[in-house]
Amino acid sequence: MALLKMKFSQQRRVRLAQGLWLLSWLAVMCGAFIFCLGVYLKIELLRRDEVMENTEIHVVPNLLMMVGLASIGANWVASRVCQDSLDASRFPRWKVLLLGWYAVALLLCCLLLAVVVLSYALQGRLEESLKVGLRNGIRFYKDTDVPGRCFQKETIDRLQMEFRCCGNNNFKDWFEVQWVSNRYLDFTSQEVKDRMRSNVDGRYLLDGVPFSCCNPASPRPCLQNQLTDSRAHYNYEYQSEELNLYSRGCRQALTDYYMGLMNSTGPGVLSVILIQMAVVMRYLQTAVEGAMALESPEGESEGYILEKDVKATYADVKAKALDLLKFAQVDPASEAAGAEEGEKADEATEKAATTAA
């Protein structure tokens, strides 16, 4: 009793082949899209390399690129199979490959599922990496004369302006580090000396932020210094001022951006298409094979997913696997039975000979 049997006339077989050909080219486009998505994600991650501490998250774009390329190849093969399927002379050479194709399609579906799961699972690691990277960036903001860190300032400034964020969690992170280099501090000034002595590490801390935290949408020209002192500026209330600086932290902004990129629907769509293709391909394969076995190739044939039902197929596969394992072993019981049968056959021929004679 075959699983999900359907009858296919010649016309329906042609339609099936055409539909599958279209579906396979659609899947090639999807595969190309997934590849481009992987490349774009990798480029974006590499651009912000400086504020990330580790590269664990790179496994997602790497997988996407691999799966994209593999699916382009596999679906191109599928389209060739469709083109040849209605030609009885050319179809047999694909028969051998089809089992491999099913395996590849299954593998690709699993990988796509893995990508989706990974992109959610690695969100925590991405946030950790960004937290450490941004913390270092803010600490080394002032070191524009130290080789290897000269561009931290520019990187952080551009990052804050582009993603409209300030600091790691919020703008108060800037109050805890010295972000003005000692080169630009007048150590003879009393104010500077007071500030340096006011904390244990001897750092020049102030309640001010760099200019890149400023929000252009504020109706008021940007207030950068003495932010916690409501009396330092006219008509300014520290607690209720919202528009002056960006209120979001850069870690949150970057995480949202990357999660948005990774959670796009590409992998989901492609896996759905692959599953559909596998089902249709199986129908096509069985229908065409049935047609080739018929006396008149134009007649009706049956298509199915599995030749017998699930239990019987499973028993078959198990038996085949055990056979394969026992291939090298010599079986003493079967040898003795074979010897007995051989003797019985000899006796029968002797009897036949005597009766004949």
Partner: protein, 344 residues
């Protein structure tokens, strides 16, 4: 003596038709590109219309959109002509449409030429509008509570950040206007009162710039205020300081952006003109080759194709005489009237 005539046998005609078909479809793709460039240019002008005083001219992008659509239509029709040309029945149906079509293509080429000239000449208009618009934008920077100008501050800040520029000609333009609204000035403060009284119009002027003029590439945290006062900042000399704020003026920066767009559009239009001329020449060859077939029933026969029926000078003379007679159509001819009178 036909001008630039060539002999065609069946194979050459077929090759000509196929090549011309591909060329027409290339022209359709170029038309689509022109259409999308027109839309892109229109959007870019709209995006920054606030710093251009909202009276920038949309003539070039509108014409470009029109030209793109026309090009698609005309060239698709031309492609269809080529496709049908090798089938004698369809070709005889198409024959009467050839002459008006060629005239339309000539007109279209003239329109393309006009658009190329406009692309290069309108850049002056853009420059002048930008100068005026930026001057007003800097003046209205502080008016974030005036309806119609609330977003001037944000627009100008984003422009200065995006184009890496400061002020109209340079950063000193900010010293001449009051860019802090009176709402945020403490009028009871002596410093404020001194500044306001120090100039005729009672404006609060300072030697400072907004934060959007700051250059992130500077090794030093940005110095926005007291820019001309060396003693206000440690280790600062305003004459030699180059990296602190952007040196370029926004008029120059934004203009070179738009000028780049317009120049590339002009170059693409020149390419389109050459392509169209090539298409027209090919179509003329194909149509004359098909018309001069000695034996229309036999497709294998040879025929001749040309660009102009008579030589170049003769065609010009013909055209001139046609134009003259066209002008004289309504005039009564004196020479013609007198023989009649003499006859009677």
């Amino acid at each position: 003596m036909p001008f630039l005539s060539l002999k065609f046998n069946l194979q050459k005609r077929v090759k000509l038709a196929q090549g011309l078909w591909m060329l027409y479809w290339l022209a359709v793709i170029v038309g689509i590109i022109l259409f999308s460039l027109g839309i892109f240019f229109k959007i870019e002008l709209r995006k920054r219309s606030e710093i251009m005083d909202n009276n920038e001219s949309h003539l070039v992008p509108n014409l470009l959109i029109l030209v793109g659509m026309l090009s698609c239509g005309l060239n698709a029709f031309g492609g269809k002509l080529c496709h049908d040309s090798l089938d004698p029945q369809k070709f005889s149906k198409m024959k009467p449409m050839l002459r008006p079509y060629m005239l339309l293509c000539c007109g279209f080429n003239a329109l393309l030429l006009l658009l190329v000239l406009l692309c290069f000449l309108m850049q002056f208009a853009v420059y002048l509008t930008l100068a005026e618009g930026l001057k007003n934008a800097i003046r209205f920077y502080k008016d974030t509570d005036t309806p119609g100008r609330c977003f001037m501050k944000r627009t100008l800040d984003m422009t200065q950040i995006e184009f890496r520029c400061c002020g109209n000609n340079n950063f000193r333009d900010w010293f001449e206007v009051q860019w802090i609204s009176n709402r945020y000035l403490d009028m009871s403060n002596d410093v404020v009162k001194d500044r306001v009284l120090s100039n005729v119009e009672g404006k609060y002027l300072m030697d400072s710039v907004p934060f959007s003029c700051c250059n992130p590439g500077s090794p030093r945290p940005c110095i926005q205020h007291h820019l001309t006062n060396n003693s206000a900042h440690y280790d600062y000399d305003h004459r030699t300081e180059e990296l602190n704020i952007w040196n370029r003026g926004c008029r120059q920066a934004v203009f070179s952006y738009y000028s780049g767009i317009m120049n590339s559009i002009g170059a693409l239009l020149i390419f389109t003109m050459v392509l169209e001329a090539g298409d027209m020449a090919g179509l003329k060859y194909l149509s004359t080759a098909l018309e001069t077939m000695a034996d229309p029933e036999n497709p294998e026969c040879e025929s001749e194709g040309w660009l102009l029926e008579k030589g170049f000078k003769e065609t010009l003379a013909d055209l001139l005489s046609k134009v003259k007679t066209f002008g004289r159509a309504n005039q009564v001819e004196e020479g013609g009237a007198s023989p009649d009178v003499a006859a009677t």
